[in-house]
């Protein structure tokens, strides 16, 4: 089975995105190279999306924890402030993530592929 190992070690297999040995014809080589590039970008995009999910989850979690702290405890000011600072930092990271070239390129690559896939399934 061919596939591409992502940064987290996950092997993503997809019949429409195989990365195999180079073919001999230059035109085919070019197409394969393009395919390899697209696959790299797709893999990077998947990593970015997983990272974004984790960050957004952490933001929800910290907001909820802050609410719990303020509901149940005589707020520990230092802990409260520390969580608020962490929250602000995470929000910045999400924004930063969405500004990166990899994320935008990944989105650009995946969007038409996904649209095609949706169409195929209609």
């Amino acid at each position: 089975m061919e596939g591409e190992r992502t940064a987290s070690g996950s092997l993503v297999s997809d019949s429409s995105a195989s990365v195999g040995a180079r073919a001999l014809h230059p035109a085919i080589n070019t197409a394969k190279e393009k395919s390899v590039t697209e696959n790299s970008q797709a893999a990077a995009s998947i990593e970015q999306q997983l990272r974004e999910l984790a960050l957004v989850d952490r933001i929800f979690g910290l907001e909820a924890q802050l609410a719990e702290v303020s509901v149940f405890m005589n707020p520990d000011r230092d802990r409260f402030d520390a969580q608020e600072r962490e929250l602000a930092g995470l929000r910045q990271q999400v924004e930063g993530l969405r500004e990166t070239r990899t994320w935008r390129v990944g989105r650009a690559v995946l969007a038409p592929l996904n649209a095609l896939k949706r169409k195929r399934n209609e």
């Binding site: 596939g3 070690g9 996950s10 974004e52 999910l53 949706r118």
Partner: protein, 462 residues
């Protein structure tokens, strides 16, 4: 100076024996009411002594209050008082069941705006009024005060056989005015089989995490995931699907090949190389999926209802919806899941261990309704909502990750629905022993502890 309490009239739609009055006369009388609010009593019994004062508090406190209904009580066969506890306002449940009960308070300006009661709908006229009011009201409130004492056990919304065609008409008009839907059948017991319809044919990605190993049942070798997928392929009527199977490195190639043979090009296999983390596997499946809707599914399920995706998808497409779930049964024909219940600091399943054909309190297992959570063993949600809330938290690899997900979904302002029209067997005990670890409790309750008691849509002990 205390604010002036709006004026209130009480009008009985039934005679002293609880029999419906002449509705033409009642409708005319209703339009002549001059007070700001009217309480319509539709069953034999008495308003409790503090009815006016308790209702008065609501009328004073909420300027936009247009409709108010209350909990009730009746004297049981053993002579003890039996409470009738109702859920908060739920528009989807209302189209399945007129659950407001024996006394409903309306603002008269709303009644006039609606043109009053449509007496021609006879035994369905009060239901019709409530449905039309639900579409026009600014606010519909429910008080847990038991303000009505009934003469007899309550069968909410029960109708005479001769009125069933009128109930159907009323419901069809209501569904047409609220985004569309179908009335399959109206019933005299007041529980009506209605449902929403799927808009378009969006791609649904069924994300199934699996170990991908053989299991042995009485010496027979089988693969849970292959069986699950086969049952879907054999029964499911919704065809715009893809399967995203997230399998462990140790998975048997024979099983993966069987899945490929079963699903063809609609299968996407994604390898999970880390240690067990259900949430992480679902997230990996989500980012590798293409659908506008994600259906998270355990691998140890077997489909019962062919229209399961349509039922859940139609609810997940409602405005503001963030998630929908289904009825799960254990192998021994008892209920495993009819929604999440958060009760006195604990999170558990509504209906667990009750026999398959149980109706539940106020027929709650028979109606589509709002819930505060559903199990991730089978849950459908818009892709956009999944990503909006950060997917499933990897901090909870085994337990409570679905509770956390649901809490995030409702925190983000989305509604969650449950439907009995989608049902599956869930052979849960076969695959995992749910040992709860302290850190899981710490994480889940550290985030949501104060919300682990929430009886708004399920006011019964679970």
């Amino acid at each position: 100076m205390s604010p002036e309490v709006p004026s209130l009239s009480v009008l009985r739609a039934v005679d002293s024996g609880g029999v419906l009055r002449d509705l033409d006369e009642f409708a005319a009388e209703l339009l002549c009411v001059e007070s700001e609010f009217v309480a319509i009593v539709s069953a034999g019994g008495l308003l409790r002594g503090d009815f006016a004062s308790r209702v008065g508090e609501w009328m004073v406190s909420y300027d936009d209050l247009d409709v108010l209904y209350c909990d009730e009580i009746f004297v049981g066969v053993d002579g003890n008082p039996e409470p009738v506890l109702k859920p908060d306002f739920d528009a989807e449940r209302l189209r399945c069941q007129f659950y407001f009960g024996s006394v409903v308070l309306y603002r008269m300006s709303l009644i006039r705006r609606l043109g009053g009661l449509r007496a021609e709908f006879r035994g369905a006229a009060l239901y019709d009024l409530a449905l039309r009011a639900s579409r026009a009201a600014r606010s519909i409130a429910h008080t847990t005060d038991q303000l009505f004492e009934g003469d007899a056990p309550v069968r909410l919304g029960a109708v005479e056989q001769c009125d069933l065609p009128l109930v159907r008409t009323v419901l069809e008009q209501h569904l047409a005015a609220t985004g569309g839907g179908v009335v399959e059948e109206a019933h005299t017991d007041g529980v009506h089989d209605t449902h929403r319809i799927v808009v378009g044919q969006p791609l649904v990605s069924i994300i199934i995490p699996t170990r991908g190993l053989w299991s042995f049942d009485g010496g027979e070798r089988k693969s849970l995931i292959v069986e699950a997928v086969r049952s879907i392929e054999a029964l499911s009527t919704y065809r715009a699907i893809e399967y995203v199977v997230v399998y462990d490195t140790v998975a048997e190639s024979e099983i993966l090949e069987a899945l490929s043979a079963e699903c063809g090009p609609r299968l996407r296999l994604v390898e999970w190389t880390d240690s067990f983390n259900f949430s992480g596997k679902i997230n990996l499946g989500a980012v590798n999926s293409s659908g506008d809707y994600l259906l998270v599914l355990n691998d140890d399920v077997e489909l019962i209802t062919p229209g399961w995706i349509e039922a859940m998808l139609a609810l997940a497409q409602l405005p503001g919806a963030g998630m929908s779930g289904c009825m799960l049964y254990y192998e021994d024909e008892t209920i495993q899941h009819a929604g999440h219940g958060y009760w006195r600091g604990d999170a558990t399943h509504i209906g667990m261990f009750e026999p398959r054909n149980s109706a539940g309190p106020l027929d709650g297992y028979r109606v589509e309704r709002r819930v505060l959570g559903v199990t991730a063993a089978c849950a459908l949600m818009p892709r956009a909502v999944y990503f909006e809330v950060g997917g499933m938290t990897t901090l909870l690899p085994g337990n409570f990750n679905d509770v956390d997900l649901c809490m995030k979904v409702t925190t983000a302002g989305h509604q969650i629905y449950w439907t009995p029209r989608a049902s599956l067997y869930h052979y849960e005990s076969k695959t995992r022993i749910a040992a709860v670890r302290k850190y899981e409790v710490d994480v889940a309750w550290g985030r949501w502890g104060s919300r682990m008691h929430d009886p708004r849509f399920w006011p019964y002990a679970v």
